[in-house]
Symmetry: C2
Subunit: 360 residues, 2 copies
């Protein structure tokens, strides 16, 4: 990408003497991997954004932040959506933009209350397409019980966008007594996933590349606020919730292991991988553990509460196939290790960059 023509600003400062703070060695420019939700994304946040922004809520960057304001305990989160293509089996950028942000709030135990919505439209895109996306967004918001409270629209010239980019930010109330965050993972916790993994990523891939994997794979795109409420009905003492989007289950588990300084032990056979996802991954040389999900969560739950939480999840339509896939351990802190079907073990690393660009 070094020969990519860079648009320069006449008023931009001269960066020739600038020393890159990132441990990215050969990458003084942005590459796709910086948006992949893996190690390169983390490096960008830790080395560039965090020092630039400062302030106490930094640890929350890239996740939903929990804040006090006017006596209320709020969760606050944002995501931009650049998924390609805009429409895919099981959803479109409109409902993705609702569910993605609603889910980020739900991972703090919060029920989303209000969303903001910012459109960046490319000149020349059909208004019918914008309308279709806006209707999907509105319908998803009604399903999730969240209100679109404020919005903004910008237009950029043809060739400077890709039809529609969206940003949503969301706020929600965190219930009293609830403290769910990656740092709370403890050895002994049971690791639960709410259902089969890899559907969103493979759905996107199938339409983008025109591939077929036997049956149509539909994205699992869904709002998880109700499922989390059901889980909190079983116990308030959920330790960690995380939605394994970019970077998949592997990235989510690695982030938790690193944040809490614990190890995670998985039973690879227990991880539910639908056949079409397994087939697609086999054909393409991908690992289902790294494929994005948009309607699944992973939970770290105290052992004593695990059965009650699993039962509550299975009683909810979005958790019907919930299953324990492993446990939190004292060994190998910061690492995720899977026991393979053949009795061996393998380290499940944090992905470096981007397996599937623009997945959300």
């Amino acid at each position: 990408m070094a020969d990519t023509e860079l648009r320069t600003d006449p008023a931009a400062p001269d960066f020739s003497g600038w020393s890159c703070p990132l441990p990215l060695r050969d990458h003084p420019r942005v590459v796709m991997g910086h948006g992949g939700g893996g190690a390169m994304s983390a490096e960008l946040v830790e080395n560039l954004f965090a020092p630039a922004f400062g302030g106490p809520a930094l640890a929350g960057l890239g996740d939903s932040a929990v804040l006090e304001l006017g006596g209320a305990r709020l969760a606050f989160s944002t995501d931009s959506y650049v998924v390609r293509p805009l429409f895919f089996p099981g959803g479109c950028i409109g409902d993705l933009a609702v569910n993605g942000t609603v889910n980020d709030l739900a991972m703090s135990g919060a029920r989303a209350a209000y969303l903001s919505c910012g459109f960046i439209l490319e000149e020349g895109v059909e208004l019918a397409l914008v309308d279709r996306i806006a209707r999907a967004l509105g319908a998803a918001a009604r399903t999730a019980g969240v209100e679109v409270a404020t919005g903004d629209t910008k237009v950029v010239e043809a060739g400077h966008g890709d039809g529609v980019y969206l940003n949503t930010a969301g706020i929600g109330l965190v219930p009293a007594g609830v403290d769910i965050r990656p740092q709370r993972a403890r050895p002994g916790d049971v690791v639960i996933v709410s259902g089969p993994i890899g559907l969103h990523g493979v759905a996107i891939l199938s339409v983008r590349e025109g591939l077929e994997f036997g049956v149509e794979v539909r994205s699992d795109c869904a709002a998880l606020g109700g499922l989390v409420e059901a889980m909190l009905g079983a116990t308030r003492d959920l330790h960690v919730l995380r939605d394994p989007t970019r970077g998949g289950l592997a990235a989510a588990l690695n982030e938790i292991a690193a944040a809490a300084g614990v190890g995670v032990g998985l039973s690879e056979r227990a991880v539910p991988v639908p056949d079409p996802v397994a087939n697609a991954c086999a054909v393409l040389g991908l690992d289902p553990m790294y494929i994005a999900n948009e309607g699944k969560l992973v939970a770290f739950v105290p052992r004593a509460e695990a059965d009650a939480v699993l039962a509550a999840m299975r009683a909810h339509p979005l958790g019907a196939e919930a299953v324990a896939i492993g446990e939190c351990v004292e060994d190998h802190p910061g690492m995720v290790v899977a026991r393979t079907g053949f009795g061996g073990t393998r380290v499940v690393d944090l992905p470096m960059g981007e397996q599937l660009p623009r997945i959300c």
Copy 2:
């Protein structure tokens, strides 16, 4: 633009039978004017986004919404920033993204407390440039007393962005007893502007087009939370506040007149237009009333409070040149009418589309 090649989605529905809900006659596609903050932007919101999103907070679309959550009264707002070029005299997209959203909250009387921040980076952009923007954003946040609480980064392929697009959303507390919104404009209100207009738009234009207008024109980009606090110290009974960004003073006043069903009478001579702005507008055939500002506000204040509010504004660095420019009247509801320097009058219309694209 009809011959612009449109990127199509393989999975996109067929829109051939779709009937455009917008009164845009010849424009079934997005044009730059849809992002201009004028009549075309309003049509898009009223005819497309509002019906799609539904819900009671619709009136707040395009403005900051005031919400109840957990017993707290919150203002919530978002803007995406696509300004071109990224750096301009007096600021860059980073501080613009803080000040723009902080100001939207301030127009409800709220002091911004927390910001979210979403970057859409174009592959190939220098990390040094991203760093510079992030540092400007962090510095502006510290100046405004607002904390960047949560963020997100996406990367799009070269040719699908323009270096850096930004979105911020903000939340802040609305003080008890404060009810500031366009609908509260009343005949008799004094219309005050906080200082000279047109600086941001002309600053952008000068670097974009390589034009010089005698002296360097610097953007007025600034956070107005402190100025609004000073005004609320003079009276809690401010009726309307608005920051005249896209579409300038003309758009802001027209929106207020329409929302409250009142007329606005201006003294054109009283509107402070700096010489370089006047010169630039004369050369380019632009009207300063339509040029964007990023550090000014217009206030509708009960006559009995106007002197106290003006005094409070003038005691604040960002309101030192505040001045009354007109009044709210019963005549010509929904219309803004200026008395010209020659004793005549002219209607100051809502702009249709976009005088200066990508101004913020």
